[in-house]
Symmetry: C2
Subunit: 219 residues, 2 copies
């Protein structure tokens, strides 16, 4: 039995790889673990049966036999613990890679998430436009700091790790803005990640959900 | 040699336990690990020497011999891996506790952090007041979901874990608002955590930094 993850039946990002199942798909591809996908509608995600395994009604979840997990960061970590390839074997390097996982999700992602909320949920508000530069200033601080740390290196700390995987997944949310381009080493870091075969397989799989659905709907 | 953590020399929260060193102090107290503290001024935190160990110029960091870590979530996890008491021994229960660590930091904390940013950095903006109910609505959704999951239980999943520690540290940021009081089980959950001897020792230690400094300054 393959592990089963959940994903959007109809992703709001239209297959651009920004939904959080992408993070888990990518991790599974990096370690060579086949998986199955259960697609959920927005209403199914809010039903009690699903909330029993995901209290916040979000995707993805991860089910492997009797184990059910939620939160993409935790699922990526679980995959990284179960298989070689996403965390260094050396204990100190492993702990540092985990620092980068948390930095991606708790330091770099919040202002990037706020940019999305302003664009989506506060689009019709009088302050929408004026807040853009304020939020972008917060994001730019993080990008400058990240760029300064990365320097000419390929990855954040030695070999590619789950820390890079989550950081790149977070930075991908900025594609379409010009902010990443302001730091050529960060643009190259994202491109380097996207050229990984595991990334490409994961990206194609999540895109296929969108294109198959639209084919099915005749759009 | 005890591990050394960094903390604010002069915390913006005035010793209310909201700075992120509190999370690490609490974890260290739970496992009975003595520690030393290096206090930093705001300018020291932004200097290259500190950024070499904390690329984003934040507190806390954690140094133990040749190992240096950053990100409070990662440090709490490292402490939990090194000592019994903060993660279940059962592998499935352990993985679920880690789900709660990530849920605290990546699902529940972002809107709570945004509330702080609106109160602090956008206080003088024309939209400041109008955004409060919007942000609070996002927080209330998360609190309702968390309250529904917790129900009458003492802790999020079985015994107290690092997942509870981080969740409570995040919820503490809402003290002073009435939002926690809307869910008596969440208020009780926070109070139950605060009554833990380890919490109290950690809280007293971070408060002492503030009171000693003010005594020293004659204020």
């Amino acid at each position: 039995m393959n592990p089963i993850i959940t994903a959007f039946e109809s992703s709001p990002d239209k297959g651009r790889g920004l939904a959080r199942d992408m993070r888990v798909r990518w991790a599974l591809e990096e370690v060579g673990q086949p998986y199955d996908v259960r697609l959920l509608s927005f209403s199914e995600m809010k039903e009690p049966a699903y909330r029993a395994i995901q209290p916040f009604g979000q995707i993805p979840t991860y089910q492997d036999g009797t184990l059910t997990l939620f939160e993409s960061g935790a699922i990526v970590f679980h995959i990284a613990e179960q298989h070689p390839g996403l965390l260094p074997v050396n204990p100190q390097a492993r702990a540092r890679a985990i620092s980068w996982m948390f930095a991606a999700l708790n330091t770099v992602e919040p202002p990037i998430g706020e940019r999305g909320i302003n664009a989506l949920l506060e689009r019709d508000k009088s302050w929408h436009e004026q807040r853009v530069p304020l939020i972008e200033e917060r994001i730019r601080s993080r990008l400058s700091e990240l760029s300064a740390h990365l320097g000419p290196a390929d990855w954040l700390d030695g070999e590619f790790s789950a820390g890079d995987l989550l950081m790149v997944a977070v930075l991908m949310r900025l594609k379409g803005s010009k902010m990443l381009d302001e730091h050529p080493n960060l643009s190259a870091y994202v491109a380097r990640s996207e050229s990984r075969p595991a990334f490409q397989r994961a990206f194609a799989a999540q895109l296929a959900v969108f294109t198959n659905r639209n084919a099915h709907l005749g759009t």
